[in-house]
Symmetry: C2
Subunit: 412 residues, 2 copies
């Protein structure tokens, strides 16, 4: 396994510079994580964060949209701009010799974006189109409908909830949002063919004059999670989409590794319980899965399956039964397989600069520190069958909120 020694340094404006070199690779990657997400969208403006990143990508004070794209292409910067619930991310991969130039362009974009009103109609329209496209993708739509109902404010308005609001967004609102982009806890993470000291200095040099601003305060949420079941009828789909949310712990919880191992027992590969019970033995569905996701204050384990109306009842029953049954414990053999899977995921992440800069940034965001691959492997190795089963007995996956989407199936 390649050595992995992440280093983190805080700049005077509160920005976190984080570096984890992977010198065997040929390319370098960065992820800039800005702690301003969909939860910070103003009321009646669901989609603002997505329009904001789209508009940010359209130029700086000094470079108009066309010139900015050409400047990025000239250095072969393979980039993506994304908005999610709690943050925006700007990711890039490029050759090491262009690293400083790439980072400087991204910093200019964030600190002095152009936000040209002439670009807004096209930007709004295409974000609107992407929200409408979710309507045509039932496997994605079912999660939008689930999350709208399950999550407490401010997490209750996932992208795609209210497409029409996107068209209401005005340039002044985006300018205000851009002027409020925080420097404190903004993360600049880098990996690949780079050197630790040199790259930390480089990040400091590029980002040191980023305006000093505080992020919004940590969201206060209700401790209650919703349970029960609802159906959203959509006569046009062939399948019933089934999604369920089970309360869980956040990434920052020291026991979180046990949730990872538990979801791997359920859904990690072809001997996962859900795969075997729902797919292989009964042929109820083609794809079934469970996965963990979290916001800073709390976590959620989601389960998903899509099937015909005739099989929806049995599929939902087996799905929930298998989730609940995990509380009765897992076998030593299952834990061993789950460990192998998590371990290989850690090792493989060291073969990609893009993956490593991403895990570096999110680790810092959710845990406040950057773990090395060795540290994660030790966490995995330290979980005993007894430890995992004690945890699962005390934190069973139960009392889900279930949302089904598609043809009516309950009367059958």
């Amino acid at each position: 396994m390649p050595a992995d020694h992440p280093e983190v340094q805080r700049l005077s404006n509160g920005i976190l510079a984080a570096v984890a070199p992977l010198p065997d690779l040929e390319s370098a990657s960065f992820m800039i994580l800005v702690p301003r997400g969909e939860i910070d969208d103003r009321p009646g403006r669901c989609g603002e964060a997505t329009v904001l990143v789209e508009m940010l990508s359209r130029g700086t004070e000094h470079l108009d949209a066309r010139a900015f794209v050409e400047a990025m292409d000239e250095i072969g910067l393979d980039r993506s701009f994304d908005a999610s619930s709690e943050y925006l991310t700007i990711s890039g991969s490029l050759l090491p010799r262009h690293f400083e130039k790439g980072l400087s362009l991204m910093k200019e974009m964030l600190a002095a974006p152009r936000l040209d009103p002439a670009e807004l109609p096209a930007a709004r329209q295409l974000v609107y189109q992407s929200a409408l496209a979710i309507d045509d993708d039932p496997a994605e739509k079912v999660f939008v409908e689930l999350k709208r109902r399950y999550h407490p404010p401010p997490y209750h308005r996932p992208f795609g909830s209210f497409p029409e609001e996107i068209l209401q967004i005005e340039i002044e609102e985006l300018r205000e949002a851009a002027r409020a982009l925080p420097s404190r806890d903004l993360i600049v993470a880098a990996s690949g063919k780079i050197e630790t000291e040199k790259t930390l200095s480089l990040i400091e040099k590029v980002f040191t004059d980023f305006p000093n601003r505080e992020p919004a305060s940590f969201p206060q949420i209700s401790p209650e999670r919703k349970s029960g079941a609802e159906h959203v009828e959509k006569e046009t789909g062939a399948q019933v989409q089934i999604a369920a949310a089970f309360p869980s712990i956040p990434f920052s919880d020291p026991d979180f590794i046990k949730v990872s191992l538990a979801t791997a027992v359920l859904s990690g590969g072809m001997s996962g319980r859900l795969f075997v019970e729902v797919r292989e033995k009964r042929g109820l569905v083609y794809s079934v899965r469970a996965f963990h996701s979290a916001f800073r204050p709390y976590g959620t384990v989601y389960a998903y399956a899509g099937t015909t109306p005739e099989r929806a009842e049995e599929t939902l029953r087996v799905l929930v039964e298998e989730m609940v049954r995990l509380g009765e414990g897992v076998s030593a053999e299952e834990l061993k397989r789950a460990r192998t899977q998590l371990r290989s995921r850690v090792v493989m992440s060291l073969e990609s600069a893009r993956a490593r800069s991403g895990t570096l940034a999110t680790d810092l965001f959710y845990r406040g520190r950057a773990r090395s691959a060795d540290e994660i492997l030790e966490e995995i190795a330290a979980v005993t069958p007894e430890g995992l089963n004690d945890f699962l007995a005390n934190h069973p996956f139960r009392d889900p909120f279930v949302l089904t989407l598609g043809p009516e199936w309950r009367k059958r």
Copy 2:
């Protein structure tokens, strides 16, 4: 860039063993490509190839379904089994010390599959479910509808065309199909932390007693390609899905690299013409793209966009105009950017054993030989602006067949 020296050797039963070590990596990967695809499905059995791989994965003569899964999990074999138009693929990644065991299990599965009738109902059902799921994914469905109409026999029945036929498949049909799996031109490609000579010998040792069988003959197809436009009404979607097929050359054509460069000018990244003209300037769609695909006898360049009914006419017009306009040539600047993109794709493929074993197998299948990364980079470097523009003038992307799917839009 890591060194890349692919080596190929033919076994006495016609199997091609191919190896391209990437010793910097920690894992090893293989891809077994069996030249038996959906085009070999018998009449009235659309989906047979997919049910066949699903059933192959359910055990060998010596290991029942459960024992087979456990044997694969025990060595941490991360695998996938797929059927496509012209071949089946079995891909796996694992630690180098388990490589021989993994390969042996896969060979047993192909040479002596269990094909247990008790497994068939579940296997058929889940493949059926996956075909139905395409109905609920308009962006995928539009390509099934396009391909059914555009491609000549035997390429005219892509997976998902006739879901009901899946339920008709009988165990004797699968047994017959399994007994006919060809050895000649079956490809076993390996990459990652392996040694050339040792691995070639290992593949020979494992596969030498695979029964000697000939593949089906090379498909004879009509030289005519369909053009025109059709609409498939589906009132339930929010968007109109637009897909177009333009005739092109096969992978084996020495000019193929020019098609790759041309599609990169159209659709490679954010300064691609389609991205700029359809998305950035006009905001007509969120995602738009063009890409090349090919069967052995001929190639196709596909274009795709999804938009609202009100914008469908303009989107389709701009999309086709941009494709046709490529015949007027590209600028030196555009060629330079396209080259950079293709080059970085080649370099990055050397950072993944899975990707490299995949390109090794498909290169052998389509071109009859395995190119090194250096050879591909030389091909890319050798294309001049004049050479590319001459080619595009003689092979413009025109006379497409267009299929739209979704709400009626033509009367608006």
